[in-house]
């Protein structure tokens, strides 16, 4: 184990997870995903009209290293809800199909509200650029 007391990338990742109720670490952005798995999770959240924050891990390889070390999860994407890792593409897809994801997001009633206007901007711009904090 290396010294982790002063690790700005890890600290930035931690605060992003703490500060954003629904946070997706992905390759690329929701608008321009860099990988099919990231694209799928991002599309699922958008289809639920779920606002979420997204962090692109591609700009600096250390983001992914630190994230995986922190979450004990080797792959990208990673979806966090209320500070907890929900899963990657497989788990999120499975949970979406079974309705568990909607439950975890507190959206159970959303099927009844299908006629609500979905036009609102649902994707927040990236709340942080971890690479800029170095």
């Amino acid at each position: 184990m290396t010294e982790e007391t002063s690790n700005p990338i890890r600290e930035a990742i931690k605060s992003a997870i703490d500060e954003n109720p629904v946070l997706l670490f992905m390759k690329g952005t929701p608008e321009a995903p860099g990988c099919g798995f990231s694209a799928r999770v991002s599309a699922i959240l958008e289809s639920l009209d779920q606002p979420f924050a997204a962090v692109d891990i591609l700009p600096d390889p250390r983001i992914r290293q630190e994230l995986s070390a922190l979450s004990n999860w080797p792959t990208i994407p990673q979806l966090f809800v209320d500070g907890e890792l929900v899963g990657g593409c497989d788990i999120v897809s499975e949970m979406y199909q079974s309705g568990e994801l909607q439950q975890a997001l507190g959206l159970e009633g959303s099927a009844d509200e299908a006629d609500q206007e979905p036009e609102a901007e649902t994707v927040q711009s990236a709340p942080l650029s971890i690479e800029n904090r170095l």
């Binding site: 798995f37 004990n72 999860w73 080797p74 792959t75 890792l85 929900v86 899963g87 990657g88 593409c89 497989d90 788990i91 499975e94 949970m95």
Partner: protein, 76 residues
């Protein structure tokens, strides 16, 4: 050196007691369907971690992508 689906299957079944795995893949991207008694009572996250742990840092390297589906099975 390429990795074969059979190799992944063998590693999963050797590492997780009682596990049965079906693995398909093209040498870089793999799909694994795994059942094991150990999964019972575990969250999905924990079940998938158990499988990722079999491969350690190979995931993301030789194993570019590993799609996992898990299901608990009865004790053999």
């Amino acid at each position: 050196m390429t990795t074969t689906p059979q190799e992944l299957k063998d590693r999963i079944e050797a590492s997780i007691p009682g596990a049965r795995a079906e693995v398909t893949g093209d040498g870089r991207h793999f799909n694994a369907i795994v059942s094991a008694p150990a999964f019972r009572g575990m969250s999905r996250i924990a079940q998938h971690r158990l499988i990722y742990d079999v491969f350690g840092t190979d995931v993301g390297e030789d194993i570019h992508a590993l799609s996992i589906q898990t299901m608990p099975s009865e004790e053999p």
